[in-house]
């Protein structure tokens, strides 16, 4: 049943068995999993079915260094479906090594192994509409694919791992009907949780206070509560409730909001592949289920261990778009169209290069001198992206000169100094706004620097071409666009020790018997992988647990 908060009488007391706060990837997954189980579930969503500026403004906050992190109002959506309404759809599971305690990565190690999550990954893949849970090219594609780089052999990197792409599935649109028709589920829109009330001993959530922007106020009591509001908003909710625990809920040891991670990403250097154009195959392959899949250069786990590096992957990429020297009509067309491309996807088009008349003219010249190329690309984007239900995931340019840059995506180490906290400003509901102080470490720079060096050496030794870059620019390139947008990880990390974690292995807040957190906030480490698939897998695991827990 779909309800509006305005339909609820003021000061009403709603009851349910399980209350889920937040209808994004995690919240919708839990609700969807439990709809056939007969539990009385209430799913609270702060937004509506469409974006609304007043609601979205509740996400506004500040950042300490604007060059390093996008404003908190960006890369997350306060509406039904959450940030899946704008995500890119890249699905990658965490690797085995990501769960391990690694001496060379401070604060690493999950309290669960990958095998605990494996039973849920398959279902998670389905919910994300990314096809079978198959992340090896050799397994997924019956007949061998042409090599990613012909002749490339490496003891350090494998080209066999895949990333798979969701439609990208907007969880709100995709599962609205299913949730609305569920007889024991109520979805309540425009329901902002502003207060979590604990009992006197601070060990049990008694009720939530919910408000909307029209002044309506009511309470929700339940056996169990799940906060599934995303890595940043979870932090705000925990820290803003200080009446019983003066430092905030789950924050007796000052861990909430710390260890904040995104990913370390950037584009660097020039890769030249020798020989014919077909020696590089860096684009998408389509699985039998119609899912776009792409191979990457992934740093092998044994090399990560022996070299003491974080997790790292890279892809062949087109040259930097902002510089018209690439002489590519398609890239220049993208540059010229940057004002109609959403912020979350257009950030790299804007870059930190100052647009000049000369650069504009250069891009224009590129388009004019390659009209057929540009027209073909525009048609492909219209057909395969704009109009297609399963969208072509990104721009792939096959270089006529076999020239590429390298796009990398690396694990960011957990760092207690990288944190999200409350500012003195408040929003329209009187809640303190967030202040983001994202920081990277020398270890992060080291992972990227040495992984790139290993790759350059492998390309050279394989005699397939060359990879030229300036090692001195690595740090600048990996921070050129700041923290990777939309990956809000680690702010309520999972662990067995309350002094260094917020939730236990079952995602329950330490010391509180009925409050759970779902989402990437609970990840102790960030992996090379995008978080959504693992968010969904963890949510499915939590749903299975809650199914038994609520019935106890």
């Amino acid at each position: 049943m779909l309800l509006e908060s305005n339909e609820i009488p003021n000061e009403a007391a709603l009851r349910c068995e399980l209350c889920i706060v937040g209808a994004g990837a995690a919240g919708i997954t839990i609700a969807r999993k439990l709809i056939d189980r007969g539990l009385d579930v209430l799913l609270l969503e702060a937004g509506g079915l469409a974006p609304e500026s007043a609601t979205q403004d509740l996400y506004a906050g500040s950042v300490v260094d604007e060059r390093l992190h996008s404003p908190p109002i960006r890369y997350r959506q306060r509406m039904f479906g959450g940030t899946t309404t704008i995500w890119g759809g890249r699905c990658v599971p965490f690797d085995e090594i990501d769960f391990e305690h690694r001496d060379y990565i401070p604060h690493s190690g999950w309290p669960i192994e990958r095998s605990v999550l494996m039973p849920f990954y398959e279902d998670a893949n389905r919910l994300c509409e990314a096809g079978d849970f198959s992340y090896r090219a050799a397994e997924e594609f019956g007949q061998p694919l042409p090599p990613m780089i012909a002749g490339f052999e490496s003891a350090n990197f494998t080209t066999d791992t895949l990333e798979r792409f969701s439609c990208p599935t907007n969880f709100g649109r995709r599962y609205l009907r299913k949730l609305s028709n569920a007889p024991t589920l109520r979805v309540l829109l425009h329901a902002n949780v502003t207060r979590i009330e604990l009992n006197d001993s601070g060990e049990h959530v008694v009720q939530l206070i919910v408000r909307n922007l029209q002044g309506k106020r009511f309470s929700v009591t339940a056996k169990d509560f799940v906060l599934a509001t995303g890595g940043l908003e979870v932090t705000r909710l925990l820290l803003a409730n200080r009446d019983v625990h003066p430092c905030g809920i789950g924050n007796q040891h000052d861990v909430v909001g710390r260890y904040y991670m995104c990913h370390i990403a950037g584009t660097i250097g020039r890769i030249r592949i020798d020989g014919d154009l077909d020696r590089a195959n860096h684009g998408y392959d389509i699985s039998d289920e119609g899912v776009y899949c792409r191979r990457r250069l992934a740093l092998r786990e044994e090399v990560q261990r022996s070299q003491q590096l974080g997790n790292f992957i890279a892809r062949l990429h087109h040259p930097r778009i902002t510089d018209p020297a690439h002489r590519n009509a398609v890239l220049s067309l993208l540059y010229l169209a940057k004002f109609v491309i959403p912020y979350e996807y257009g950030k790299r088009l804007h870059g930190d290069d100052h647009a000049t008349f000369r650069s504009w003219a250069g891009h224009l010249r590129n388009v004019v001198t390659g009209p057929f190329e540009a027209a073909e690309f525009a048609w492909q984007m219209l057909r395969d992206r704009k109009l297609a239900e399963r969208k072509y995931p990104s721009v792939i340019i096959r270089s006529k000169a076999n020239l590429y840059s390298l796009d990398f995506h690396a694990e960011q180490q957990p760092n207690p100094e990288s944190r999200v906290s409350l500012s003195d400003e408040t929003d329209a509901l009187g809640m303190a706004r967030l202040k983001v102080d994202w920081r990277y470490t020398t270890g992060d720079v080291d992972t990227v620097t040495r992984a790139l060096a290993l790759l350059a050496g492998d390309i050279r030794r394989s005699r397939v071409g060359s990879f030229d870059y300036d090692p001195a620019t690595v740090e600048a390139e990996m921070t050129r666009y700041g923290a990777y947008g939309g990956h809000h990880i680690g702010t309520a990390r999972m662990g067995s020790d309350p002094r260094s974690s917020v939730v236990n292995a079952g995602c329950r807040v330490h010391g509180i018997d009925n409050l759970y957190i779902a989402g990437s906030a609970t990840f102790p480490t960030s992996s090379q992988a995008n978080p959504t698939l693992t968010v969904v897998a963890l949510a499915l695991r939590l749903a299975a647990h809650l199914d038994g827990q609520v019935r106890r």
Binding site: R174, I286, G290, E389
Partner: protein, 340 residues
Amino acid sequence: MKQSVLVLGAKGFIGSRVVKALAASDWAVPVAASRRALPPDSADQPDSLRLDENDVRQVRRAMEGVTSVVNCVLGSSATIRTSARVLFEVSRSMPRQPRIVHLSSMAVYGAAVGDVDETATPVGELSAYGSAKLESERLAAANPSVVILRPGIDYGPDGAQWSERIAQMLYARRLGDLGAAGDGYCNLVYIDDIVEAILRALRSPNLGGKIFNLASPDPPTWNEYFRDYAKALGAVPLARIGERTLQIESTIFAPSLKLVEIFLRRFGPRLARRMPQAIPPSLVRLFQQEIKLKVGLAEADLGLRWTPLEGGLRQTALWYNRSIGQAKSVDISGDDRVGN
């Protein structure tokens, strides 16, 4: 002594399989009856006959001397109603009423959702096909020797509606992954399981008056059916069909195709059959209907075990790719038409 079993609608998907199974048995002799022309060599077979199931005299004559009747008659709603009325009236007038196994359909449940057993009542407005089936079931109720079977989505080699047509549309990329529009449950039942149910209903004692749902338990969603069938066929990569496209198909293309088909029939049925299949709104609704047939009764009383989906789809895909191929169009306008 062998049973003599009259099979009405013997040219259809299910009827033809029942005739074969009975002929291969050591306990029954089939009498294959159909209103359409029987195969050329059947003239030499005394156990085949052409009859109009709506004609009381013809049906009475055919039923004389048979121990049982299997009613697989399909076609228009009027045909379903009339043939059922004739069959049950004739049966009641006979000195020794034959056992009748009557093929109904899950369409009698209408828009019902959730777990549905044989006692469930129809929900919402029934389709013309569902109404006809329900009415024929009510006519059967006056006859205590009738066993009613309600198959779900019958599939398998030679299945025009749910195997051949779907395969064509998967190859044509008009069906595929439908997203939220394909989240309904596809209550598949393999043709061999339906035949087995009919044979057991003919032989098991004390089943008169009973009704059985027929479908494999734990049905896949329609999306899963399309995916697995497309993979078995090799009709890959699977297309992703948006709700907008499906809406255009059902509200604009389907009526247009129907009009063109009606027009082309003036020039002969063969031309009309070459038309692409339509996806009417009723089919789109079915793809979304979250109904699960409960089949515990069929398992308990008929002792049925179900063909696993993987095996059933493999056989169906093999048949389609070997015998039909991608080019042929499907005719589902005649007796063989099977509802849901």
